[in-house]
């Protein structure tokens, strides 16, 4: 019998174009206090802490060590860090709770994109010998993916514009872009400004708890029924950019296509009412919907998704947090949350969250 583990609290900053008056620790601390306050826990009550961030955004080695000051790691804490989006920090914390070594975990992640040129910085993620020297930036690579989708007949430019408009119609108060946003000129054809995520700074935090502890801390915990992640080849030339087999496999492993309580679903349709997809570019939502077989009956990105706010390293964890928060509030019974990393959706994580029956 595996241990039941749930998301019991979630908090996020407003995502802002720039936060130059705040250090990363100052940006993070209110979020850490907010999740702890939601549960009444203190740092010393937390069994395991795990975070996600990137030295390349901070522009210095070991940047995450300073974030520990925001946690208040004294007396010393059991703690780890991934150089990945916080969704993967949550995955590590989930395994820690599964082993029984801890009953609660604090997961956080943050990213400040404002100090540098994000498009240039992200080119440093690419194969350092054959690709990075050409400096192909993240928007150009996403445009290749969008063009491949259009060429395959999976979408067209008006459909992409509609995705952007739907996402930004959100009532999410933390969003950076919301309401009527002009779709703009081509950034890199066929992607227009409106097809691209805003560049912003932000942080998010989540608390996980196991079994009865989760029920004590949250009236309606968001139980993690399954979570899995998969990576694809790095070279874009060997991938079909119109599909995301890693997302589909992760979703299968996470039980997205099974009925609640373990009954097998029919025909590969995910049995969720809500999906929070980490699709920074409009065309990527098309890829993910296709890979996951999401129908029109599923509410996709009520938070606005990454098109409304895309704090690097935190936007994936935020998808899990947003999905969980809807279950906490009784607005969803079974939700799928997705996070991505790398160029053109190279690496993908899927979590399936469920609330107790009402």
């Amino acid at each position: 019998m595996t241990r039941e583990i749930a998301v019991v609290a979630f908090a996020q900053t407003d995502t802002l174009r720039t936060t130059e008056e705040h250090s990363e620790v100052e940006m993070l601390m209110p979020v850490l206090h907010a999740v702890l306050d939601q549960t009444g826990l203190k740092t010393a009550d937390i069994g395991f802490t795990c975070s996600g961030s990137s030295d390349y955004l901070a522009g210095r080695a070991f940047s995450f060590t300073l974030a520990l000051d925001g946690v208040g790691a004294w007396p010393p804490i059991s703690e780890s860090h991934v150089e990945m989006d916080g969704a993967w920090a949550l995955y590590e914390a989930w395994t820690k709770l599964l082993t029984g070594d801890a009953d609660t975990a604090l997961v956080y992640s943050y990213g400040k994109s404002s100090p540098g040129s994000l498009r240039d910085v992200l080119t440093r993620q690419l194969d350092p010998y054959y690709v990075a020297p050409l400096w192909p930036d993240s928007v150009a690579l996403a445009a290749l993916q969008a063009q491949a989708l259009i060429d395959a007949g999976d979408t067209d430019e008006p459909a992409l514009a509609a995705i952007a408009a739907r996402c930004r119609a959100t009532d999410n108060p933390h969003a950076q872009l919301r309401g009527e946003v002009p779709h703009g000129d081509y950034r890199v054809r066929p992607l227009r400004t409106g097809d691209c995520p805003p560049i912003g700074d932000g942080a998010a935090a989540v608390i996980l708890a196991a079994g009865e502890r989760a029920r004590e801390l949250c009236p309606r915990p968001a139980w993690i029924r399954g979570i899995d992640h998969r990576i694809e080849a790095h070279s874009l030339g060997v991938r079909d950019l119109t599909d995301s087999p890693s997302t589909r496999l992760a979703a299968e492993r996470a039980g997205a296509f099974e009925l609640p309580h373990g009954l097998k679903g029919m025909g590969g349709t995910p049995t969720v009412d809500t999906a929070e997809l980490h699709a920074p570019f409009t065309a990527q939502e098309v890829v993910l919907r296709k890979a996951l077989g999401l129908g029109d009956e599923v509410r996709v990105n009520p938070s606005g998704g990454a098109l409304a706010a895309n704090p690097m390293m935190a936007a994936g964890l935020t998808r899990i947090g947003e999905a969980a928060a809807r279950i906490h509030r009784g607005e969803s019974d079974r939700a799928l949350a997705h996070a991505t990393s790398g160029p053109c959706l190279q690496q993908n994580l899927v979590a399936v969250l469920e609330g107790d029956p009402r």
């Binding site: 990137s54 703690e79 991934v82 082993t99 029984g100 440093r124 194969d127 990576i231």
Partner: protein
């Protein structure tokens, strides 16, 4: 619910050198991974997930390089996690991988850590100035030298203890074909006459800058039963962290290190580490950290650690051998250094350490630390599976 026991069934590392100009980063990590697979007599298809670790991405100039390394490490279609906990990362990476097996999420996991420091200058990579934040000074030695001086003052240790550690570790390295430094003409006099870098740390008491990778295959009971060679069993493992700087921090013997060791000993049922643990592979980047960690890890009382070193207890044929591989003082690809410690502990427990094998290696501690003496990761491995 009990945890699945975790076994080390494959270990591989590269020959550590100052610069591997013959291979790419991908070539370097693949070499270590293939050697670990060969040791376990497994193939890429047997691996369920990959957990990779390294220190700052600036050292190679590749942001989140695991994305680019997915193909070289056979990770396509599999889960891949990237850990970064400063200098302790090699140890933490192994522990994250072990957690996947212990939690029964996966049966067999490849874990790997690397650094290719010749791609940049590690010392200056560690010294980027940030406005309004504490500078780490020029390289790690500038940060740690005052802590060594504090230890010398507190303990009253003779000035020569550091050179004894360096002389021992560099001689141990001569027995380890994978060690970076092979100083065949090393003498104690040469160590003591080497230039002073960061008083009291001399050039020969300092770790080198290396290119290297280390990999391990971790598996469950069923995997261990199929292993062609004796596995090493994980008896306990833990991580602890504390802030870099704060009023009241004991930089000489940090509380996080003490707590981490206590957690490992509790899991393994160790009451007296000095009697019950046979050998230790610990993270000693500057010679004086051997006596400092001997105290922090509970092998000696406060202020007494240097006496173990001085009396030869920590020699390869001593009663408590320390850094049989030659240690970080002989090999330091920073991101891999923690995993090399963990792997050496497992090699010893498996009886596979060759010329630097110690006679009695029933229980061996692997230790790593990082940041400003603030991140600790440790595991205790043994020749026999955990009880219960």
């Amino acid at each position: 619910m009990s945890k699945e026991p975790v076994a080390v069934v494959g270990i591989g590392q590269t020959k550590h050198v100052a610069a591997r100009r013959d291979v790419s980063v991908a070539g370097l990590v693949r070499e270590a991974a293939c050697r670990a697979l060969d040791d376990a007599e497994l193939t890429w298809a047997d691996i369920d997930a990959v957990v990779i670790g390294k220190a700052p991405d600036f050292f190679e100039g590749v942001m989140m390089p695991e994305l680019y390394l997915a193909d070289a490490l056979g990770a396509v279609g599999k889960p891949m996690l990237r850990v970064h906990t400063a200098g302790s990362v090699g140890g933490s990476t192994a522990l994250v991988a072990a957690g996947l097996v212990a939690a029964r999420v996966h049966g067999t996991v490849l874990t790997l850590a690397f650094e290719k420091q010749s791609e940049s200058n590690a010392m200056w990579g560690l010294s980027l100035p940030i406005p309004f934040q504490q500078p780490l000074l020029a390289g790690a030695g500038g940060f740690f030298a005052p802590h060594v001086r504090a230890y010398m003052r507190r303990s009253g240790a003779p000035d020569t203890v550091g050179s004894l550690v360096a002389y021992k570790d560099r001689r141990n390295a001569l027995k380890n074909p994978y060690a970076h430094l092979h100083e065949h003409d090393i003498t104690l006099e040469k160590v003591q006459a080497s230039p002073m870098l960061w008083d009291p740390i001399r050039y020969s008491e300092t770790c080198p800058s290396s290119d290297g990778a280390c990999a391990m295959i971790l598996t469950d009971r069923a995997g261990a039963a199929r292993a062609p060679r004796p596995p090493a069993w994980m008896l306990g493992g833990a991580m602890r962290s504390e802030p870099t700087l704060f009023a009241g921090k004991d930089a000489v013997s940090p509380q996080a290190g003490r707590d981490c060791a206590a957690d490992v000993y509790r899991q393994a049922g160790i009451a007296d580490p000095r009697r019950e643990i046979d050998a230790v592979e610990m993270y000693v980047p500057f010679s004086w950290y051997e006596p400092m960690w001997l105290e922090n890890l509970g092998f000696a009382d406060e202020g007494e650690g240097w006496k173990l070193t001085e009396s030869g207890v920590t020699e390869l044929d001593g009663d408590l051998p320390v850094n049989m591989s030659g240690g970080v003082l002989s090999t330091n690809p920073i991101g891999a250094s923690g995993m090399i410690r963990f792997a050496e502990a497992a090699l010893q427990a498996r009886g596979q350490a060759g010329e630097h094998q110690v006679e009695r290696a029933g229980k061996v501690l692997g230790h790593a630390y990082g940041g400003g003496s603030q991140f600790f990761s440790m595991w205790l491995v043994g020749a026999r599976p955990p009880e219960s």
